[in-house]
């Protein structure tokens, strides 16, 4: 995968945008590091934008679960935006759509984490 794009927006939302295949290895560790960095802020509001992710493996799904837990432990809010195709299918298959906040647009995901904080 390509490096994770990190955007700290003016409204306080941190958008992490991995791209390509999000699978076990250095790229996934980079996403974990970006979440950990975001959690150094008080009450972090974190959105992982999956629009450019073509597929995920089980390790990536586990990393998203860990990210949600880490952000919650820091008193913040966490959401996923724009999962597509196979990524969406696997979130549904594993029933993580019941655990994670998932929105079809970046705007909706941002509003959800701002409203939750």
């Amino acid at each position: 995968m390509t490096p994770v794009d990190v955007e700290a927006r003016a409204d306080g939302v941190i958008v992490l945008a991995p791209a390509g295949r999000l699978t076990i290895g250095p790229g996934l560790a980079e996403l974990g590091d970006a979440v950990a960095s975001a959690c150094r802020r008080p009450r972090p509001r974190v959105v992982v934008d999956l629009a450019a992710v073509t597929y995920v493996d089980s390790a990536a799904l586990g990393e998203l679960v860990a990210a949600r837990r880490r952000v919650a432990a820091a008193g913040g809010a966490f959401a996923l935006a724009r999962p597509r195709g196979k990524v969406r299918d696997l979130l549904d298959l594993t029933r993580l759509h019941e655990l994670l906040t998932i929105r079809d647009s970046l705007g909706e995901a941002s509003r959800s984490v701002l409203a939750a904080s």
Binding site: T23, I24, S58, G62, E63, V65, L93, R95
Partner: protein, 145 residues
Amino acid sequence: MPGGLLLVEIPGDIAWLDLVQGVAEEVGRRAGLDDDGRLDLGLAVREGTVNAIEHGHRDRPGDPVRLTFLLRSDRVRVEISDRGPGFDPAAIPDPTDPANLLRPSGRGLLLIRSLVDAIDWRIGPGGTTLILEKFLVEGGPKEGG
């Protein structure tokens, strides 16, 4: 498409996962799988190889994992062999149980089952072999075996 046999042995290191996934996708392409089918096969083989490295070889890091790709007229069969003691699939907690949703791991087998048409194991004194099959014929293979 003619049948064929391809053997790949990798060191027990996740750095080789892209290679085995690429081989699986290429085998799927030669077998005539469509884009989704190739991706499914590649991802299933990747997950199976991760299991072999992380669980089968938990106590023997670096031990090689052997993959056998078999092309038949009606299916692609992939065997992933490690030297581990094996496991009881029925004993693996259901990762979709609400009590388990927060667990960061344990979803690999669920993904594999969703990505291939058939799954089986051979567990013996020499190790464990995970067997994955992707059918090339709608509704299943034309004959048994």
